[in-house]
Amino acid sequence: MISIFNFFRKKKSASIAKDRLTIAIMSDRKDSTNYPFMDQMKEEIIEVVKKYIGVRGIEIKKEFDGDFEALSIDVMLDK
């Protein structure tokens, strides 16, 4: 009986697609560090740090923690 019941209540695949896409895209957007100014900011940070110490590279990540949004900046120093 349950299987027949499920058959009639089966969710249409388009609405499954919508739900899955909404979640996937939300998480894609969170991961992206695509602020328009990101590249320029990177270069400027490198310039500033370089005044004091050798820099090999820099990585900026956007992070989410509950309601907080943060930029974590990793500076890799020259040996």
């Binding site: 249409k12 896409l21 328009p36």
Partner: protein, 270 residues
């Protein structure tokens, strides 16, 4: 001064080049001067869709490098004297593009044409970024299918962060074309509805193209489907081209089968 429109999709194979060819021709048929440029360096295809593959002498990389001038490289379409085509380089790879050279080419084209349509390569790498860099607007092409829509969102994200206009603090206009819609699948709930896709991508609709076997038949012959007056996809492209040229053309509801009302009545008695 012309408007530069990049045609983008993220995912490959959704009909970007077909859309570029048909809209370019549609704009030409609306008596506006249009040039379509193939930015898919190394994988030239727009020439085939337009039926101009035998006419290519110089490509856009040669123009950028000063080995040929624009007049020599521009190829006039057989179907409209208002449409011109600039081929991608087939021998080189995407790394040959440089921002300053792309900008110079685009600026030069803007002088002579009302519409400059750039056919972007698939993916979101450097070739794509160069296509969107100096665009005033973008047309995003998707299929009503999860991978296409997700990839389109990534491409839109890059457009919103890397285009020259955005960096200047302006906005790049974005419009969506949903390609290959199968009406009875939408009706039965097996294919995403256009409202849902617009919701997810947060973008304005430019037009909907129904699935149509005539599209392959047209590309086989190198005659864009817009020339086939009986083709439903061709008619849809004509409506979109009209909208781009400033005509008020209502959205046609191609997501409803002709038999839709009949089916619903039958359904009531089941």
């Amino acid at each position: 001064m012309g408007i530069v429109i990049a045609v983008i999709s993220g995912k490959g194979g959704v009909g970007k080049t077909t859309a570029t060819a048909n809209l370019g021709l549609g704009i030409g048929l609306n008596n506006k001067k249009c040039v379509v440029v193939d930015f898919d360096i190394g994988q030239r295809n727009l020439d085939m869709i337009l039926g101009l593959e035998n006419r290519v002498v110089y490509d856009m990389v040669q123009v950028m490098d000063g080995e040929a001038n624009l007049k020599q490289a521009l190829i006039k379409s057989k179907a409209s004297e208002n449409l011109f085509f600039l081929a991608a380089s087939q021998s080189k790879d995407k790394s040959v593009l440089e921002s300053s050279k792309v900008e110079k080419l685009v600026v030069e084209l803007k002088e002579d044409f009302d519409f400059i349509i750039l056919d972007s390569p698939a993916g979101i790498e450097s070739g794509f970024e160069h296509t969107i860099e100096f665009a005033d607007a973008a047309i995003v092409v998707v299929n009503p299918e999860v991978s296409s829509i997700r990839d389109a969102d990534r491409a839109i994200g890059i457009l919103d962060s890397k285009s020259h206009k955005v960096k200047q603090g302006e906005e790049v206009a974005k419009y969506l074309i949903i390609n290959r819609i199968v009406a009875d699948m939408v009706e039965s709930g097996e294919m995403l509805k256009s409202e849902d896709i617009l919701d997810i991508l947060d973008i304005k609709l430019l037009g909907k193209i129904p699935e149509d076997k005539g599209v392959i038949d047209a590309s086989n012959q190198g005659k864009p489907v817009i020339l086939d007056k009986k083709s439903i996809a061709g008619q849809a492209y004509m409506r979109i081209a009209g909208r781009l040229c400033g005509k008020q053309i209502d959205m046609k509801d191609i997501e409803m089968c002709d038999s839709g009302i009949f089916k619903k009545i039958v359904g009531m008695f089941r």
